[in-house]
Structure formats: C-alpha cells, structure tokens
C-alpha cells in the first residue's frame, strides 16, 4: 500500500524517468565527456596518461591557422550549400505543386538522391569528377567548353563538393515545402485573386510569407546537417587536396584517428558543437520572428 502511494505520488517523475535516463546516457554523457577531454592533453602518440591542462589545448588549437581556415570553410560550405538548396528546393516544390503530366514520376525521381548512401554518392561523384577519365570533363569537352580539375584542385574543390551536397539534399527541402504547401489554406490565395493580384504578387505576398515557417524549419534542419557534413567530404577528398576541403568535422576526425591527439580533437568538436548550437538558436529566433 505504501509502495503504491509512493508510485502514485511520483508518477510524473517515474514515468518519464527511463526516457530521461536514456537521453542522459546516450546524448548528454558523450557531450560532457568530450568537454572534459578538451581540458586534457590526452595524446596516444606520446604514450603517457592523460592529465588536466586547463585551457592549453584550446590556446594551441584556436591559434592554429589551419583551424581558422577549417572554420571559415565550414561556414562557406554551409552558407552556399544551404542557400542554393533553399532556393532550388522551394522553386521545385512550387513547380511540383501544380498539376502536370508525369508529376508522380517527377516526384519519385527527385527523391532518389535522398535515399542514396552518402559514401556511395561520394564514390560515384569521384568517378564523375575525375579530370582524366570522368564524365564531367567528357561532357564539357564534347560541347567545346574548357575542362575543369573539379575536386583535384584547391580552387575548385569546395564548389564541387557544394554541387554534390545540393544534388543530394535539395529534394529534402522540396519534400518539406511540398508538405507545407499541402497544408496551406486556399482562401487567402482566392481572396488575392478576387482582389486582382497577379500570379507573381500572390506568390511573393501570400504564398511565400505563409510558407515561411515551413521553409525556415527545413533550412534549420539542413543547416545543422550541413555544418556537420562528414560522409561526402571524407569519401570524396578526405579534406584534400592538402587541407583545401577540410571542415571542422574532418579536422576533428583527423586529429582523433590519424594524429591521435584526443584532447585537441575534443577542442575542435566542442567548437563545432557551439557553432551548430549557436546557429540553430539564431535561426529559431528568426523563425519565431517570422511567425509574429
């Protein structure tokens, strides 16, 4: 009897407890442990046990030009990839929202890149971009255009990777925006028609503003993902040539599993975590603003 009254009294704690413990163990612990490691000098190549070094690892990593370049590159990759995906994704969704012959087939084809494995996509695009035997240069040559070095040159590697990211992830934005379009009320559009608004004015002043929360949600999801992009870059260039496509995530991986500097690698990952967290917060604020 005593037991049951205890259970009853604490129902609101006991019921969500397993879920809270699960989240704590699988999500909070790794983050806290990474934070702890970032204050140590754990380095497997030295063979000595880890010791607490305060902010030493932070000073060493944050003052490295390589780190600053990787940080800039992470932002450049994300901004360009997400902006292009946003514009293309919304445009395609608006087109697909109209009735036309072969609409279902077009939707199906559009979703194919989404279901492809990123590493497989990376390998295929590696062959596609090969400067000597690749299809990209073959097409350029056939139409009489100058050939490119694509992922083999420091100057063109980042744009090439952005092309692959856009190819793979634009459909996700399209999918979310299509769902948003399906849920929109038709009345404001009809009212605008009655008031004599043109198609462009309806799109610009009615549809897009109504869709804005959905578009921003899609952008947040993509932004978080793009900031952390690893698979495509790792499979295609491994951060090269040199460090030309090295983003924070790739640099963190290299510091961990190629240099075995676990402490310094944790610093990079903590910074990446803060960047992703900060950007998500910023956009969520913007989203709140757009809803007002």
């Amino acid at each position: 009897m005593v037991q049951s009254s205890f259970t009853e009294r604490n129902l609101r704690i006991l019921f969500p407890l397993p879920a809270i413990l699960f989240v704590a163990m699988l999500m909070v612990f790794p983050v806290l442990y990474t934070l702890f490691l970032s204050f140590t000098n754990w380095n497997l190549t030295s063979g000595s046990p880890l010791s607490f070094v305060g902010l030493n690892s932070y000073t060493r990593v944050l003052t490295e030009p390589r780190f600053l370049h990787a940080l800039t590159r992470t932002f450049l990759f994300t901004i360009f990839a997400v902006a292009i995906e946003g514009v293309l994704g919304v445009a395609i969704a608006l087109i697909l929202n109209r009735a036309f012959v072969g609409k279902s087939l077009a939707k199906l084809l559009l979703l194919l890149p989404l279901v492809a494995t990123p590493v497989a996509v990376g390998i295929v695009f590696n062959l596609f971009f090969d400067p000597t035997t690749g299809l990209a240069n073959f097409i350029l040559k056939s139409v009489g255009l100058p050939q490119g070095l694509w992922i083999s040159s420091a100057a063109s590697v980042l744009p090439s990777l952005i092309i692959v990211d856009v190819w793979q992830w634009t459909p996700m934005i399209t999918l979310i925006v299509l769902a948003g379009l399906a849920g929109l009320s038709n009345e404001p559009v009809e009212a605008a028609h009655v008031d004599g608004a043109s198609e462009w004015q309806i799109l610009r002043y009615v549809t897009i503003p109504m869709l804005m929360p959905v578009i921003l949600t899609a952008m947040i999801l993509r932004l978080i993902d793009a900031l952390k992009t690893f698979d495509i870059i790792f499979a295609m260039t491994g951060g090269g040539p040199g460090y030309a496509s090295e983003t924070l995530n790739i640099m963190g991986y290299k510091y961990s599993f190629e240099y075995f500097r676990m402490g310094q690698s944790s610093v990079i990952l903590v910074v990446l975590f803060l960047v992703v967290f900060g950007c998500s917060l910023g956009i969520m604020k913007l989203r709140g603003f757009s809803e007002i």
Binding site: I151, S153, F257
Partner: protein, 418 residues
C-alpha cells in the same frame, strides 16, 4: 511436485552442460587487413581450425580503418582482439609506447633479416612478426617506350627526358602519388637518392639542400608530366589510369605488380608492362624496402597461448610459400633463397627485390609515433612543389616551418634526438 523437481533437474543439468561446453570452446578473435596476405590467411583459416580445434573469428578491414579500430579498442581497454595485422612503420612506435603489443619471447626469428627486424623490435624484445616486404619500383609501358625509341630510365635525368618525350594529351609521361601525405612514402626514395633524409637521429632534416632538391624534382616532374589533378591522387587513383593506358611510367610499391598485369583488371596487355629498378639519383640509388605488414598478439588478450598458435601458423614457411606463389613478397629470407619457389615468382619482382635488399633503405616515411601528422606536414610541401612545377619561391621557407613543427611533435612525444 515430483514432475516439477524432475523438470528443474533437467534444466539444471542442461545448463551445467552448456556452461562446460562454453568453457571448452577455444576461440580467438583476429583482425586482418584488406591485403593480399590477409585474404590468403582468411581463406586458409578453415585448415587451421580443423587442425587445432581453435575457432577463429576473423574480421578484415581496410588499413586505415584497421588502425582506427585497434586504437579505439585498445585505448578504451574494451578490446577482445587476440591477434592482429599491423603496420610497423605507421603505428609500431605508438602501439609499443602504449603497451598494446605482447612481447614475442618464444618466437624463432632466425629466418628474418636484421634490417627487417629493426622495425619489429624495441630494445632487446621483439613485438611483431614481419609478414610482407615492399620496395619501390618503376612500372613502365614497354610498347610506349619502344615506340618513342627510349630505353628504360636508369637515373632521374633519363626519367625526366623520357617523361618529356612521351607526355601528350592522351598519355601522361610519368605518375607517382601526389596526394600530400600519401606521397611521402613514394617521395622517400627520391629524397634518399638525392642524399637526403626525413629524420636524422630523431631530428627532422627534410629542409636540407638534398631533400629540397628532391622535393623540387618530384614537383617538377609530376607537375609537368603527371596526370591532371595529381595532387589528389594516391595509388588507388593512379593504378586505374595506368591500367587504362593513360600513364607511361609510374613509380610505386612492388606490391601492385600482380594487379597491374592481371588481365581481368587492366586494358594493357601484360607483355607491354615492364617492372624495373627505381632510377638512381645524383648521389646514390637506395630505394626504400620496408616491412609493410607484420602480425602481433594483443597485450590484453586472454587467450595468449591460442593466439601464439595462430601466429606461428600464420607466419609459417608453408603459408609464406603460398604467398610467394601468388606474387606476395614475403618477409622470410628462406623463401627468397628457395630456387623452386623463385622459379614460379615473376622474375621482375625477384630482380628488383634483390637490388633493393642489397642497396635499399628500410624506412619510407619519418619513423616516429606521430607519423600521420608528420606525413601531412611533408605532404604540404609536395603539393606546393607540384602546383608550382618545382619552382615555388616559398618552398624553403615552408620547409623550415614544417621541420620546426615536426621537431615540436617529436619533443611532445619524447622522441626528439633519439
């Protein structure tokens, strides 16, 4: 009640039996590399299992992933690995320092040459058994050289002249790895042949005049006559180009010879593919000849006796012979002295190995714990040199910075000057 007792007894006795059976099961976990010898071992494991009754759980991984997996498991002290293939030059020092190798005190190393054992031993003890050796060679297209009226280059000047004469839009005159860190091993023979070194007694010296000459020459010949986009190419990118007939001469490790002449993988007829000694430089001809793979027992293994049985079998002369017969260049001396075996091995491999064994250098990279980081730093010089066709005005300054950085790493890991 009686029925219940009988049922309980049956359950209890079957439980005891299964616990007993579990205790008697002899099982080990082995991590192998995706390497021709790893594949050979994997296919022969059933023979070992039936002969000894030891069950072997073998996993195969790509070399980089193998290092990552071993490191993660050992560092977190959660490993159940008993035996593993290992790259002594890449990870040997780090694994030794962290105490992840079990010393192999009872093993008979008499069939292994001294220079090969130098990377398997630390102090008086040996920690891994060398499996495979590799050396740098020159692969070339016999038909292309003949058509151009050229003989096989024997030194760097001839190499450059031949590359210049052959190079065209359809075929690259010369290829070698240009992808930063991956290029460091192949650059090493160029450095040695110019009279330079990466490290000298634990101090980075690759900013010396001979080493800089080598890096400039490597950049010049690859930047001018190499395939397009060579700075992002390692062997896995160059080999398909060679196999497609897009490269006339290619320097890399001897291990690829089997694949280069395999009719299933190449469009170039085997009779048109030649293998020759690495060309001599201005100072000497001392191409690398290294122990690329070894095999070791994990220190934390709970089945060391079984692991040793497996290790002895995996490094036996019988298996080494099998390896030689499929063109895997084994580390044991005796298989290279057996005329019956050599008669069945490709003569090009036998000749180039004999030359490298006599004149070669046993290291192909800076031999240190933090070799990955050092390779990336030297790799930056390689890329700068290739991008400027060896003409970079910045190269010496960059090299000084990278040398300082490598020396700093050596100090961090306690290996400076040792």
């Amino acid at each position: 009640m009686r029925k219940l007792r009988i049922a309980a007894l049956v359950v209890l006795s079957s439980l005891c039996l299964s616990i007993n059976a579990m205790a008697e099961t002899k099982e080990i976990r082995v991590l192998l590399a995706n390497h021709p010898y790893g594949d050979l071992l994997k296919s022969a494991i059933p023979e070992f299992e039936s002969a000894t009754g030891i069950k072997v759980n073998a996993e195969s991984l790509q070399e980089g992933q193998l290092t990552t997996k071993l490191t993660t498991e050992f560092a977190t002290k959660s490993s159940s690995v008993d035996v593993f293939m290992t790259r002594p030059l890449q990870e040997g020092k780090m694994f030794y320092k962290n105490g992840w190798y079990e010393p192999l005190t009872g093993f008979d190393f008499s069939d292994y040459p001294k220079n090969v054992m130098s990377v398997a031993s630390f102090g008086p003890k040996s920690y891994l058994v060398p499996l495979v050796t590799e050396w740098q060679v020159l692969y070339y297209r016999k038909d292309v050289l003949k058509e151009a009226g050229l003989k096989v280059p024997e030194n760097f000047m001839e190499l450059e002249a031949a590359a210049k004469k052959i190079n065209s839009d359809n075929i690259a005159g010369f290829a070698s790895r240009g992808k930063g860190a991956a290029a460091v091993t192949q650059l090493s023979s160029f450095v040695y042949n110019h009279g330079g070194l990466y490290l000298d007694n634990g101090v980075a010296v690759f900013d010396s005049k001979p080493a800089m000459d080598a890096i400039r020459f490597y950049g010049k010949i690859l930047g001018t006559y190499g395939p397009k986009g060579v700075t992002s190419m390692s062997w896995e990118n160059i080999m398909p180009l060679f196999q497609a007939g897009k490269v006339a001469m290619w320097t890399d490790a001897s291990v690829f010879y089997g694949q280069v002449v395999d009719p299933a993988k190449t469009q170039v007829a085997a009779e048109n593919v030649g293998i020759a000694n690495f060309p001599a430089g201005p100072k000497m001809n001392s191409p690398f000849i290294v122990t690329s793979w070894g095999i070791a027992i994990a220190k934390q293994s709970k089945n060391k006796e079984l692991a040793m049985k497996f290790l002895e079998w995996a490094t036996s002369k019988e298996l080494a012979t099998k390896g030689m017969l499929v063109n895997i260049t084994m580390a044991r001396s005796s298989v290279w002295e057996d005329k019956a075996i050599l008669a069945k091995v490709n003569p090009g491999l036998v000749e180039t190995r004999a030359y490298a064994a006599k004149n070669g250098n046993p290291l192909d990279r800076p031999y240190m714990s933090a070799v990955g980081e050092a390779r990336d730093l030297i790799g930056e010089l390689v890329i700068e040199s290739i991008n400027t066709k060896g003409e970079s005005a910045n190269l010496e300054k960059m090299a000084k910075e990278k040398v300082a950085k490598v020396n700093e790493i050596l100090q961090d890991t306690g290996e400076y000057g040792k």
